[in-house]
């Protein structure tokens, strides 16, 4: 049974004259769009993805494309979008080629290249799919570029997701680069010892074990030590954790989140029901 937590002393409102958190801890984000509460930005990102994929036709993806481009401009991150867009090139190329030329059941041929015929239906589907992918990529980019994971996690925890989820995500994000450099070291060391990264498939397959082995066993071996260290810091105390950082929020943003969230679901439902009025 959970002990009564008593009065909510975990809200980060310092009394006048009491100790205040230094600025490098509070890290209040500033700037247009960035200053929004992380949950708001996340809801916008998810809603954009839902509409981009769920509203069939041109309007869905195009409108999301326009909206995310506008947000990127406002937030001042438009130049950094390039790398996200570039990352979609392989799948965009695939979508275009496979669907334009090999769309099943399409007969309205536009032009021919060798033995392959590009059909109107196929090209339409291909272009719409490409728009969806790019709109999705942009919505992800805008979120990643304007929202620090720390901020998002701190805000989620204040709303009650619990210290465990915050720890899992926060720790994973910090462990990945560490493990990544360890992996690179191992690959380099193996290459020096003759591991083939270019040769036959069989040889490359055998290359997995010398890479995965040390990395995996090394990190799994730390589990016990890290568990003890966490317990030694009272990690499993059955109380509501003190929230140090308070990201600003407002009732306007809350209303916005509901409108955007529900609105996206309504749009998708309407589209699925076939009643979406726009192309």
């Amino acid at each position: 049974m959970r002990p009564d937590p008593g009065p909510d002393t975990s809200v980060a409102i310092p009394e006048p004259g009491a100790a205040v958190l230094p600025a490098y801890v509070l890290r209040v984000p500033t700037g247009p769009y960035r200053a929004l509460n992380p949950l708001t930005k996340f809801v916008i990102a998810i809603a954009s993805a839902v509409v981009a994929f769920g509203v069939r036709g041109w309007t869905g993806p195009l409108s999301i494309l326009v909206v995310t481009a506008a947000i990127a401009l406002i937030a001042g991150v438009s130049r950094s979008l390039r790398r996200f867009v570039l990352a979609t090139i392989p799948i965009v190329a695939s979508i275009l080629l496979v669907n334009a030329f090999l769309y099943p059941g399409a007969t309205d041929v536009l032009f021919r290249v060798g033995p392959f015929a590009a059909t109107g239906t196929g090209v339409t589907v291909a272009l719409q799919a490409v728009l969806r992918v790019i709109a999705f990529a942009l919505s992800v980019a805008v979120f990643s570029l304007t929202t620090a994971t720390d901020d998002f996690l701190a805000d989620l925890e204040r709303r009650g997701t619990g210290r465990r989820l915050t720890f899992v995500i926060g720790s994973a994000i910090r462990t990945i680069p560490t493990m990544g450099s360890r992996a690179i070291e191992i690959v380099e060391a193996q290459r020096a010892r003759g591991l083939d990264t270019e040769g036959s498939i069989r040889r490359r397959l055998r290359g997995i074990v010398p890479l995965a082995g040390p990395m995996v066993f090394g990190s799994l071996g730390e589990v016990e030590e890290r568990t003890i260290a966490l317990e030694a810091r009272a990690f499993s105390a059955p109380v509501r954790r003190t929230a140090m950082r308070a990201l600003p929020d407002s009732s306007t943003q809350r209303a916005l989140r509901w409108v955007v969230g529900l609105g996206s679901l309504v749009l998708v439902a309407v589209s699925v029901a076939g009643r979406f009025p726009l192309p």
Binding site: A49, A172, I176, M179, T197, L220
Partner: protein, 272 residues
């Protein structure tokens, strides 16, 4: 959300981020540096599922995908929507954990030969009819004949590998590990196909899209071509992953394993 938090012990909470990092780093390394046509991005997910249960496994899979998609510095690509598949893989791994699939089962002599034959037969019998009859099937939309030949060849190769494993390591677990891998791969393919069809026009952006193209050329529709590609690559990938997980688990000390909720099922008969 708080009830979710309460289910997991501190040890599991420490394991999950390590597993997520393993997923992402290994998956990325295998895809870009080693350039193999498999993913190997579920090793951590299955590990957590087997040691800590279905919900922990599902959470590991889902978070791995979402972090790989949205985290600043790491994020990008198109893996996010497949968080559903990753969640299912973790869930299944939890079931395999409950069933102690990855427990070593040393055997010898006649038992081995019988098991080896059984493994070969099961693999062949399970794979072919399923590729013949996908659940989404419309009887008019079958696959071109070369697909069946390829499927038969793959099934034989897999059977040989599994038989070899059982024989060389004298361990019946190879049979169960292979079955777990194949079943996980098949279910993953079925879950991924509609996601790929709806979100990404039925392709993945990888080399296997040539297979998608070939299937469409042979007359399959978007969903079927996607499913066909999935049924080709996922069972292979997940079976390899399954064996990798088995190797990892057999390399971990019994003391370490026993402290996890489902870990002690793996070590019950082990000499300490």
């Amino acid at each position: 959300m708080a009830w979710l938090s309460r289910q997991f012990s501190t040890r599991v909470i420490v394991l999950i981020p390590i597993a997520i990092a393993i997923n992402i780093v290994l998956g990325y390394t295998v895809q870009t540096i080693l350039k193999l046509p498999i993913y190997l991005d579920s090793i951590g997910t299955i590990l957590v599922g087997v040691l800590a249960g279905p919900i922990a496994g599902a959470l590991t899979g889902i978070l791995s995908n979402l972090i790989w998609q949205y985290a600043p510095g790491i994020g990008g690509g198109t893996i996010g929507p497949f968080a559903i598949t990753a969640g299912v893989i973790g869930l299944l791994a939890g079931i395999w954990g409950q069933l102690a699939v990855y427990k070593s089962r040393p055997a010898s002599g006649r038992q081995l030969i019988l098991a080896a034959i059984a493994a070969a037969v099961i693999v062949i019998v399970v794979v072919i009819p399923i590729i013949n009859n996908p659940a989404y099937t419309d009887p008019n939309n079958g696959y071109p004949s070369w697909v069946y030949t390829a499927a038969a060849v793959i099934a034989v190769v897999v059977a040989v590998v599994v038989v070899g494993f059982i024989y060389i390591r004298r361990d019946l677990a190879g049979l169960w590990v292979a079955v777990a891998g194949v079943v996980t791969g098949i279910i993953a393919a079925f879950v991924s196909a509609p996601i790929s069809a709806i979100a990404f026009g039925g392709v993945t952006g990888g080399g296997t899209d040539l297979l998608v193209a070939a299937l469409r050329q042979g007359g399959s529709d978007v969903l079927h071509a996607s499913l066909g590609q999935g049924l080709f690559s996922d069972p292979i990938d997940k079976t390899i992953t399954s064996f990798v997980v088995f190797m990892i688990l057999s390399g971990l000390s019994g003391r370490l394993l026993a402290r996890f909720p489902l870990g002690e099922r793996l070590v019950r008969d082990r000499a300490a």
